[in-house]
């Protein structure tokens, strides 16, 4: 029988199918961070339980860490916020007590869980991966079945190595053709969400396919899978190909020797079979996709950079009209305003969507030789991990940013969720490379516009959104 990639991964990890339609799925890797794990560890302790398989877990702090270089270099003592410090120390203590491997606060391998997993080889093709964070879908880029889970499930996986879950339906999103100049993975996924809506993927596992997806680097594919959750799907995936295998090769935790050869053989099967049946197929023409900017408070409220902010009247349904009306009020935008005229107060280049080395290179290329606009209060560049930061510094990218008046920060989630000092002020517009533009996500009253790294960088220089395709690069 012809199987989809998702079917294959599901079948390979099925431990037990239960009568009520749920299933026990074996989990190969759990990524742990400071915010959703303390009560799970506490639960284990109270019940006198031990983790089922210690070596399947790996932890690192990310959500709540300060990204301020001064604060970070002083270690825990220098952290100003006591609640944050306690939460970070709790993660360390729990990892010590239970014997779980952790990349500590100032370890070079510390960073956002979803950046750290693939770059260390802790996440490998064909795995099932969970983490107490909804953007776990990122790892699907490696041909992985990856799901975000809640705290009680974190505890459940720690204790049993299994997740109780139900099988999703299969959806294929095909993007065929060649992407235009200046159009990136971020624009593709925003266009997909604009097409199917934020609930379009609900109940489905999405496989992204087609020549435009195959042409993307692994990092680009991660950007796409990262936002599968924003399309409503808990799982997003891309089939394994030679690029996947090249990406994994020589990573710290990648298999070696005979195991490597055997693994590669197995990984080559990780694609949907010819004739596999999908419950829903969505097709997009790559050539039609333009650089995207969100104008509202949901990722589906997105338009091409050259478009105008829509009017509620442009929408058929009453519910949609009301939603758009409310969004425009929150965003402080008038219908009909050209996207390019929206002033930008802050720029955030970072998050598990766009903080890998290719993202920073793309942003640096735009910024090189320019200065941040005076009207822009702050432009932050927050590398996704210590390794990304180190690589960027080795290439001199940090100098380009600093010379342009951009801040060069320490790795962490930062203004993606604004749990600590990195946040927007009320009413401020932010060109952000993150994944959620919900009300208050980046700070109380903050107004987020989701864009690609190059578009965010250009907005920081221009002070408003500009079409990156017309950008004059300086060398």
């Amino acid at each position: 029988m012809a199987n989809t990639l998702y079917d294959k991964l599901w079948n390979q990890h099925l431990v037990d199918a239960r009568q009520d339609g749920s299933a026990l799925i074996y989990i190969d890797r759990q990524l742990i961070h400071e915010v959703t794990s303390p009560q799970a560890f506490e639960g284990l302790r109270l019940a006198g339980r031990k983790p089922w398989r210690l070596d399947s877990n790996i932890a690192t702090p990310d959500h709540n860490v300060s990204t301020d270089p001064g604060e970070r270099s002083g270690g825990y003592e220098a952290l100003k916020d006591e609640t944050s410090r306690i939460q970070l120390q709790t993660l360390d203590n729990n990892c010590d007590e239970f014997g779980i491997a952790e990349f500590l606060l100032n370890d070079r391998r510390q960073g956002i869980v979803h950046v750290v997993g693939p770059e260390t080889g802790a996440v490998l093709p064909g795995m099932t991966v969970v983490c107490g964070d909804s953007h776990t879908s990122t790892h699907g880029a490696l041909g992985v079945m990856a799901m975000g889970i809640g705290t009680s499930e974190v505890e459940h996986v720690l204790a049993t190595q299994c997740l109780v879950t139900k099988k999703q339906k299969n959806m294929q999103v095909r993007v065929e053709g060649v992407l235009g100049f200046g159009v990136t993975a971020k624009d593709v996924v925003l266009a997909v969400i604009g097409e199917i809506g934020t609930a379009g993927g609900t109940g489905y596992a999405i496989e992204f396919a087609g020549s435009a997806i195959r042409d993307l680097s692994l990092e680009g594919r991660m950007t796409i899978c990262n936002m599968a959750i924003e399309a409503g799907a808990r799982v997003g995936m891309v089939a394994v190909d030679d690029k996947t295998i090249d990406y994994v090769r020589d990573r710290a935790f990648a298999p070696t020797g005979d195991n490597w050869d055997r693994a590669v053989e197995a990984w080559k099967q990780l694609h949907s079979d010819e004739g596999a049946r999908f419950d829903r197929v969505v097709e997009l023409d790559a050539a039609q996709i333009e650089p995207q900017v969100t104008w509202g408070t949901s990722p589906e409220m997105v338009a091409s950079v050259g478009a105008d902010v829509p009017s509620p009247q442009d929408f058929d349904q009453e519910v949609a009209r009301k939603g758009v009306q409310r969004a425009l009020e929150y965003m402080g935008l008038k219908a009909g305003t050209p996207i390019g005229e929206i002033p930008v107060d802050r720029v955030f280049i970072g998050s598990c969507t766009n903080s890998r080395i290719e993202d920073l290179r793309a942003a640096a290329e735009v910024v090189r030789g320019y200065r941040k606009a005076d009207s822009v209060k702050q432009a932050m560049v927050v590398p996704g991990s210590g390794q990304v930061k180190h690589q960027a510094e080795a290439e001199g990218l940090h100098h380009i940013f600093i010379d342009a008046g951009f801040e060069w920060r320490e790795p962490g989630c930062s203004m993606c969720l604004a749990m600590n000092a990195d946040k927007l002020g009320e009413g401020e517009h932010c060109a952000s490379t993150s994944n959620r533009n919900f009300e208050g996500r980046q700070g109380f009253g903050g107004r987020t516009h989701l864009v690609s790294p190059a578009m965010a960088a250009a907005a920081g220089v221009a002070g408003n959104f500009v079409d990156i395709r017309a950008w004059e690069k300086k060398s």
């Binding site: 431990v15 026990l24 074996y26 190969d28 009560q39 506490e42 339980r49 195991n259």
Partner: protein
């Protein structure tokens, strides 16, 4: 989760209707990273005369001598006798956490709020419904006899007094089973432990690279 088959314990009163979850554990304590330690702040607003906040030293608190749980005769109580609609309000699981941490294993009331009722079972606390009239009778007996104890036999679904009276109660068969066995979701999954091990063993031979160790010592 702690199993509960048969429990005998000292009874203490929470003699008012509609006790909500904010009374059981006030919101300022939810900032905690823990699931334990809520016991000292159980019924905080009623139990202390001063305002409480997380981390406030116990020596600085002024216990309210009027409040039942501060009275010698109720020290060590593990059965809480309560009134209608106990546990209404929010869905915070901190409420059963606080009761359990204080030492209560059974709460007897005429009715419970729905979410709280469910949350109790996840945390080894038995919420037990008896007719209002009977609850009233138990309140009287408890007030009259210092050191008043009750025995709850979950297997037989009976509440037994030391005088030899017995009252039966209803409970969902599946929940009863889980509580008697001390099974939470994790406990239930662990009933398939052999199946999980079998799977693991097979995968180790098929895909050994998935079991390459990430050990604390090696990173």
């Amino acid at each position: 989760m702690k199993a509960l088959k048969k429990h005998r314990g000292l009874v203490a009163p929470m003699d008012r209707a509609n006790v909500d979850t904010d009374i059981i554990i006030p919101k300022q304590y939810l900032k905690s990273i823990k699931r334990t330690g809520f016991g000292v702040n159980l019924f905080d607003q009623l139990r202390y005369l001063d305002e409480g906040w997380p981390g406030k030293p116990l020596e600085d608190r002024q216990p309210n001598p009027e409040f039942a749980l501060n009275q010698d005769r109720y020290i060590g109580a593990s059965v809480l006798l309560a009134r209608e609609n106990f546990g209404c309000g929010s869905s915070r699981e901190h409420a059963p956490w606080a009761l359990e941490d204080f030492g209560f294993r059974v709460v007897i009331a005429p009715t419970f709020a729905d979410i709280f009722y469910n949350n109790c079972f996840k945390n080894g606390v038995l919420p037990l419904e008896l007719p209002a009239q009977l609850v009233e009778q138990l309140f009287q007996a408890m007030y009259e006899q210092p050191g008043y104890q009750l025995t709850v036999d979950l297997e037989e679904q009976q509440v037994l007094t030391d005088e030899g009276e017995s009252f039966s109660f209803d409970i969902d068969a599946f929940r009863k089973h889980c509580l008697i066995e001390g099974l939470d979701d994790i406990g239930l999954t662990l009933q398939s432990a052999d199946r999980i091990k079998e799977y693991e063993q097979q995968r180790r031979t098929e895909a050994p690279w998935l079991f390459d160790v990430i050990s604390k010592g090696a990173i």
